[in-house]
Every structure is written in C-alpha cells, then in structure tokens.
Symmetry: C2
Subunit: 250 residues, 2 copies
Amino acid sequence: MGMKTTAANKCQSHPATPELGLDGIPLFNGAAPAFLDKLKAASSTHDYAKGHVVFMQDDVAEWFYVVNSGWVKIFRQTLDGDEVIIDILPAGTLFGETELFSNHSFANSAEVVQDAKITAYPMSLLRNQISADPSFAVKMLEHILHGQREQTKEIEHRTIMNASQRLGCFLLRLINVKKIGPVVLHLPYDKTLIASRLGMQSETFSRALARLKSDLGMRVRGATIEIDSMDALISYTCSACSNAFPCAED
Amino acid sequence: MGMKTTAANKCQSHPATPELGLDGIPLFNGAAPAFLDKLKAASSTHDYAKGHVVFMQDDVAEWFYVVNSGWVKIFRQTLDGDEVIIDILPAGTLFGETELFSNHSFANSAEVVQDAKITAYPMSLLRNQISADPSFAVKMLEHILHGQREQTKEIEHRTIMNASQRLGCFLLRLINVKKIGPVVLHLPYDKTLIASRLGMQSETFSRALARLKSDLGMRVRGATIEIDSMDALISYTCSACSNAFPCAED
DNA sequence: CGATGGCTTGAGGGTATTCAAGTGACGTGG
DNA sequence: CCACGTCACTTGAATACCCTCAAGCCATCG
C-alpha cells in the first residue's frame, strides 16, 4: 500500500478508513442487527495480491463480496481473448450481489488489480433476508436499480463520447464536487487500467490526455493532474452527455 | 398494422396475439389475483401514432407501461442533441417499471416508433405490492436483475464488436433458436431504426449488411434476409462476444 | 405527377487501433 | 554501485473503421 492508494482515497471522496465493511454500505444501513450479525459471523476476510481472481464468469455464485481496501475489476472475456472492463471498484463497494438468483452463476469475472482485502459473505443469507424482510427487499431493489442506471449511463458514454470526453468525465467523477477554482488530483490507479475501464487502448488514453492538456491547459506530471478551469472541462465533457454536471449522485 | 408488423411478430418469436397485457409477462405469472385485478382496474389503454412521446427523461414517474402492440424506443438525449437508443421494445414488454423509487423521475425517454397500443398502470400499486408481498418482491428483483444482465451485454457489444458483428448478433437474436440449415427472416422494423438501436449510422448499417452479404453469402431483398449457413454467421459474430451462441435465454 | 421517406452508394475526413520503437522509473542481481 | 530486465507510459506511422456530406434510387402516397 504505497502513496498511490492514499492519494486515490483522498480524491475518490471515499473516507480513508483502512477497513470498510458492511457498515459503510447504504444497502445495509438500518438492516436488522440479527441479519448483520449472522452475515458477519459467516463471513471470511482475506488479503489478495494483484492478479487474484475472485470469481470467473459462469462460476457458481455462492458468495457475495465487499472490497475493504484495494481495487477490483469486473470484466468479461470474449472467445477472441479480448476483455471488456465493466467497472473498477474502490474500497467500500459490494460486488457479486447481482447474481442473487440468476441460476446461481456469475455473469462477469472479478479480479484484484491492486492488492486488496476482500470479505466474502454467503449469498444464501442475502437471499433469505430478501424473502423474509420486505423492507430489506425494497432496499435491495433500490440498490440494484441504482446500479442499473449507472450502467445505462455507461452505454451512453461508450456510444457517443469520444476518448477525451470519456477521460474528462472520469476526471470529473473523481473530483465529484462542485468546485470552481483550480483543482489538483491524483489518478487512483494505473493509466493502462483507466484506459480499459474507459473502453480504449492505452495509447489512445495517452493521446486523449495530451489533448486535454493542450485544449484545456491541464498540467500532468505522472499521476498528478492540475486543472485550472473546471468550467472549461465541464463544458468540454458534459455537452456530449444527457446528464447535467454534478451527475454523480452516489 | 401492415405486412411488416406481421412479419416482425413471426420472427420475434413473440406470439402474434393482437393484445398482450400483463398476463404474458413473466413478472406477473403467479402474482396475487387481487393485485392483478387492482392493476387492471386502475389501468388505461390507448392507441398512439408513431412519434408519440410516452414519457421524457426527468418526468415524474407515476405510471409504468406495457406495449400491447407496435414498437417503443427507450432513449436518452444529450445536450448536443444527439440521441442514444437504449432499447427498442416489442409487444409484450414492460417499461418504465425501473423508476420504481429513484426519486420518482425517469432516467430515460420513451417514444412510439411504430403505431402502438400501450397500457399504463399506476406505479404506486407496484410499489405497494413489493412492500406487501415478499414473493412478488423476489420476482421483481429477478426481473430487474435480468434486465441488468442484458445491459451488461450491451456494454460489451458496443465496446468490442464492429458494425457487422453487432448486426449479425441482432439477426441471431431474431432467430433465437438453434437452427442449422438455411433460414429466412424479416427485419422487424425500419433499418434506420435498427441502425441506431445498434449504435451506428444508417449508412454504416447498409454497408455492414452488404459485408454480411458478400462475406457470408446472405441474400437480402428489402426487409427479407436469407441465410444459408447459420454456423458461418455464428462464428463470424459470436467470436467477439463473451456469451456462447444461444445467448438469448429470455 | 411531384413530394416524401427509406435506403443505398461514393468520396472524403476524422478518430481510434495496431504495430513499432523508444523513454524513464523501478527492482533485482551481479 | 552499476547493469539489466521489467513495466508503465509515450510517440510516430500506417491502417481500419466509422462518420459526414452528397447524390441518387425506389416505392409510397397525396
């Protein structure tokens, strides 16, 4: 856990707590204490190195997970060997929970991309609670629907935004607050990884960043980026999107 | 309702019944009769001409809908005026139901693209039933999760498939069964519309179709397409996808 | 009959990808 | 301590793919 991760947390607006368990997740806010206790009792937490595969597409889905620290990518692999990254999850994120019913097998794969601590909880407890507790079922629905809206945005972005706009959008989401003045931020993980997260090659990423530098007067040194005019970045990026700027309501 | 629509129904593997209400929708299979009665009593059905806007992004979401006949597109519009089509819905499809909670406003817009009969049901009844009937809440979750998996596929397709592959995938989904021999099918709606459904321009669609013709020996006359070798189409299309062929489990 | 809308085709340009080479930072091992 | 390999990143050149603009075809319909 080097400087990079610390910087990441600062800019991701996720509190820099070393351990993020169930308590930080909105889905479980206000859940029955007995349920949470059962989950915690049945959980198991492990440290994994970069490269560890948490689950593969078509694996039987018996557990769902929480990222306590580090980063995990959710992706799919084609027969050709190409890979599409669906999302890259920061600490404090739930994953695998969407395979609740679906014939009990995962639709995506999950892999650690930066050394991570991950907690696994049995899916059966989640299923049971949904059937038993209507108010939790409602919270679960809200949780899933929120994820679905994020995915719809993703479709829009990959369809009509060009590379620099997608990158601009990524940067704006990192900042995530309405700041007018100059901003300094740090990229949370490797540029190569951001590139595939945004559905482009790393060369394209590099050129997109160069374009933002020249067009918007951004300064880049390694993973550190200085932005003079948020307004310029916002108008450059968000004009190609259906959401008004402070679009990250999460 | 001309020849075109009839042909469409035949190939979409949706039964060609003139009226498709709640009863044909898996979500409501086995739902409490009292609930269904209440829904039907509170519903209102209307015919709409092509171009009618059912709801707009950010509208208050007080109703959800069922397409009884015709076609409805779900889309988003950017500040630039560009439009991204998320999906095009055939008869027998539910829509608008994903805005159950989300601050009660729609994240997408919906517009009739081929004269349609549409039934509206009050969202409040759906909300109530989910809170009151755990088994229905479970069905609702399954329904939403299924939709989310479809969207994930969509992200994958728009990220790594080229135009002809996306078109090939669209054709395969129309056929939707494991057929080995030659197949004749009819496009369900305008090519222009299919093009934007697949995230490409109509010119690109035309050229993609031409490419399938020359590369795979397909014959095209208007909206009628003859395919000699399903295997050739499948290997051409599905090698760029993470799903094995008969991927339409719906 | 002209107008319209859906579709096709050609030409040109822009964006992203691929292939290739090169840089710089970092860690390992001699 | 330096040599070396590795890895992330950058840059250039060539190419592939898709988009835009423009023209033209064809069927439908008033």
